[in-house]
């Protein structure tokens, strides 16, 4: 199994996943509206512009993480519905390629979701990132997305094809993504200058996000084979 074939598999799987999503419109018509709805419901629950402005960064990432659950469930519903994952396994497709491909497709969807949620925060919660804050925000979103997509693909693969996966996935995934919630929220607070925190204070948090992304993308690529190989 050489590297170029792994990447070729990854590219094919990612393109396939994105094509399925593009044609089915499930993400655009259901998951993205859900995420915006969560942002509106937060506003009802917290009921104060000042509080919303204060907690906007955390809410953006909380809404992201809730939506990740749906995206992951969706990416594996596509695979298991017609036994596609079994077919891939029996065909001897490189599991590392499958992992990387599904992670890339999930990451692409997540970036769209995050862009939407940040826009929602700007419009609904009066978040106001400066140009330098925007650079921090984009970098944070990219690094956090790699981590979330890797860990989502990994745990999604674990829960794929078993009974009760809808309820199991949140229980497995949410504790694991806590570091991303902490790191991304703190970095975003700096980007939005919440409570007058300087933009420069946000950069160290990227270290945490980068470590998380590195660990789970590498471990995921290695361990994914033994999770789905049954």
């Amino acid at each position: 199994m050489n590297v170029s074939s792994t990447f070729r598999v990854a590219r094919l799987i990612a393109a396939k996943d994105l094509r399925v999503e593009w044609r089915s419109r499930v993400v655009t018509n259901q998951v993205l509206p859900f995420a915006v709805l969560v942002m509106v419901l937060f506003a009802f629950a917290l009921d104060s512009d000042a509080v919303l402005e204060r907690v906007a960064p955390g809410l953006v990432w909380l809404a992201t993480i809730f939506s990740v659950l749906f995206l992951v469930a969706r990416t594996y519903a596509v695979e298991t519905a017609d036994g596609a994952l079994d077919a891939l396994r029996s065909a001897g497709v490189d599991p590392m390629g499958i992992f990387l491909g599904k992670t890339a497709a999930l990451a692409a969807q997540l970036l769209v979701l995050e862009a939407l949620l940040v826009s929602a925060a700007v419009i609904l919660y009066r978040a106001d990132p400066t140009p330098s804050g925007t650079v921090l925000l984009v970098t944070t979103a990219l690094v956090a997305t790699v981590g979330l997509a890797s860990v989502g693909t990994l745990y999604g693969g674990l829960a794929a094809g078993v009974k009760g996966r809808e309820t199991l996935l949140p229980l497995l995934l949410l504790p694991v993504v806590a570091p991303v919630l902490i790191g991304a929220t703190r970095a975003t607070e700096s980007a939005f200058r919440t409570n007058g925190i300087a933009v420069s204070e946000g950069w160290p948090w990227l270290g945490l996000l980068a470590v998380f992304a590195a660990i789970f993308s590498v471990v995921g690529a290695v361990a994914f084979g033994s999770l789905i190989d049954e």
Binding site: L158, K163, L168, L171, P175, A178, L208, A223
Partner: protein, 252 residues
């Protein structure tokens, strides 16, 4: 006496051996000793008063839970990496995790009760406390994964990978919570830590750790054996289960 109930009696005997019976007896004596020392013989603390007695169950309970999770991680690695992978390792991992979750739950409850009495609050967002809560939830998830079904080796592989992922996850969570916490600079509720502990109290705590460790080994051996029997029952298959249900229906 139906066939099914005779069978149950026989199974109950199978998980006990003379070693576990001896260990069990020693453990029970140890618990009685611990109760006597913890509740009667040791004095109340100067600062904490009577609430210090919670510590004699809380600290050994937390120790047992961490020990159990370490054993789960090691057995999972043994299952995954050894050439001759054996379901014995998987069952030890599962049994150990069950005991760990139970005692982690007990220490979280006793810990927050003690916190309420001593600090005036059930919970603080201290890194160790928060990590412990995450550990608890992570292993509840692990046990859920063990019950997903499939073949024994499917269960074993899935849960072993998950147990090793938890080993990665927990330090990350701990580290991030620590960073998060240091930012908030909350006043430390744990007073000065250089308090010298009364010798008798220290001994009782030590006794608790020993007794709880014995109890862990005892429970682990029984649970591992009952899991083996459970797997055997699964292997025998649906026919036997159906026959047993029919026998039950007939006898009632």
């Amino acid at each position: 006496m139906t066939a099914a109930s005779v069978d149950t009696n026989r199974r109950e005997r199978v998980t006990g051996t003379s070693f576990t019976r001896g260990l069990g007896a020693v453990t029970l004596v140890g618990i009685a000793w611990l109760v006597l020392f913890g509740l009667v013989v040791t004095p109340a603390d100067v600062n904490q008063g009577e609430s210090v007695r919670i510590m004699y169950a809380h600290v050994p309970g937390a120790w047992l839970a961490y020990l159990a999770f370490v054993v789960t991680a090691i057995s999972s690695a043994m299952y995954l990496f050894r050439r001759t992978r054996s379901l014995v390792w998987d069952r030890i991992a599962g049994a150990s995790a069950e005991i760990g979750v139970l005692f982690m739950g007990i220490s979280l409850v006793t810990g927050s009760l003690w916190g309420r009495l001593t600090w005036g609050t059930f919970w603080t967002w201290d890194a160790r406390l928060t990590t412990t809560a995450f550990l608890f939830i992570t292993y509840v998830g692990y046990l859920a994964v063990r019950n997903l079904g499939g073949t024994h080796h499917q269960r074993a592989r899935r849960s072993a990978v998950l147990a090793l992922l938890a080993v990665l996850e927990i330090p990350l969570v701990h580290f991030s919570v620590e960073l998060w916490n240091s930012l908030h600079q909350e006043a430390s509720v744990v007073g000065n830590t250089d308090v010298t502990m009364d010798g008798l109290m220290l001994f009782t705590l030590f006794l608790g750790v020993i007794v709880f460790t014995l109890m862990y080994v005892w429970m682990l051996m029984h649970r591992q054996r009952s899991l083996t029997l459970q797997d055997m029952v699964d292997d025998i298959g649906l026919d036997v289960a159906l026959a047993a249900r029919r026998a039950e229906a007939g006898s009632s």
